[in-house]
Symmetry: C2
Subunit: 227 residues, 2 copies
């Protein structure tokens, strides 16, 4: 069975992407990155999810992005609350972490090369949250080009890396519907940017609001535990 590496944050999107990778016949190697994010409880969820969804292995890499800062998720900048979903799509959100997906995909690439995987899954999505530059298709295509120049595999011509973003153009409701079809238990996932220590969601940040709207539109009961 071919191996695939999946970037698993513990959120709704990456969990669904893991389920999609499994459904496409890959043995899944899940990678989480502890990058000093505020919502660290999501890393505990990632470990539970990797087990529940049958990942072959799960590794967590520590990376202190707080040394760089520049985001509400890694510096002492407030997470925006109570914005309507219609107001979130303009400009770059303060929750944008500079070069985050470049760094995360770089780590996934190193992991893939180490375990002999050529397929990398990422739960990037352009629709619900269009302000992140590094969730766009042109970014992901450029990374795939880079990956095949950056690695021993690329030089030796023994394989070709592929970046998979199966959720790229799905709405949150469509992502949830897909995950439910694949048997994902969304109660395990955490999307909130500002959860409490026990993992209860704030219900008010952008991510919580998009998630709640997604469950409503998908006609699926929302299993999220709110504060």
């Amino acid at each position: 069975m071919p191996k695939a590496v999946i970037l698993l944050s513990g959120g709704l999107d990456s969990t669904t992407a893991l389920a999609v990778a499994k459904s496409r016949g890959f043995e899944v190697c899940a990678l989480s990155v502890d990058y000093g994010q505020r919502h660290r409880v999501e890393l505990e969820r990632a470990a539970l999810i990797a087990t529940a969804l049958g990942a072959a292995e799960h590794r967590t890499v520590k990376l202190d992005l707080r040394a760089i800062g520049g985001s509400a998720l890694t510096a002492d900048v407030a997470v925006p609350k109570d914005r309507s979903p219609d107001d979130m799509g303009h400009g770059i959100p303060v929750t944008y972490v500079p070069a985050r997906n470049t760094i995360l995909l770089g780590l996934a690439l190193g992991y893939a090369e180490t375990v002999g995987a050529f397929d990398i899954f990422i739960g990037a999505n352009v629709l619900d949250y269009s302000g992140y530059p590094d969730c766009r298709p042109e970014f992901l295509t450029a990374f795939e080009v880079l990956a095949n120049l950056a690695t021993a595999v690329g030089v030796e011509g023994t394989g070709k890396f592929r970046i998979h973003s199966p959720l790229l153009k799905l709405t949150k409701a469509e992502i949830i519907a897909e995950g439910v079809k694949l048997g994902v238990d969304y109660a395990l996932t955490l999307s909130c940017y500002d959860p409490d220590a026990t993992g209860r969601a704030c219900g008010r940040c952008d991510s919580c609001q998009l998630r709640r709207k997604g469950f409503a539109e998908a006609g699926v009961p929302d299993p999220t535990v709110y504060q």
Copy 2:
């Protein structure tokens, strides 16, 4: 004065690249990455070098690449010794760290975006050590393309990132000659892959041998302290 980010390992090449960035009129923000490398004493050297060469700031990011492994520099694989320089250029060395420069440049890009720099310097070199896939010009060009798609700046069109690799096609002797001209004190730098705890070089790994040969060819006294 425009800012530039420089990836500073504490070795001969990155130190020279820092001096070149300064000579081109940049205010230099130096970034070191503590990625679990065996030769950690080089990080102490990086801090000394940043001060000695007048960097405006120096940050060190911790990243536990040992969670991924796959290299003699980050896993329990022996560093090759006593190979002649003529034997080093074939294939991928075991000191290759999977996707290292992708990850390091990703971090430099995040740092650059945070401090408002558009210029990133890396001491990559293809001549002396041609086995590393992610030191090749086509890799660096692909990263520059990616950088301008990955970032808020790229989306907003407010600037353009440039990747500078001023040493790319220089021999080790030419690099040393350039650094001497710019006033670099190479006694501060450490190139050895397997130094002792006090920072004395082994003199036998590939990196030590290339360095020693470089000083000899440049006609510059070798200031390295060997074990």
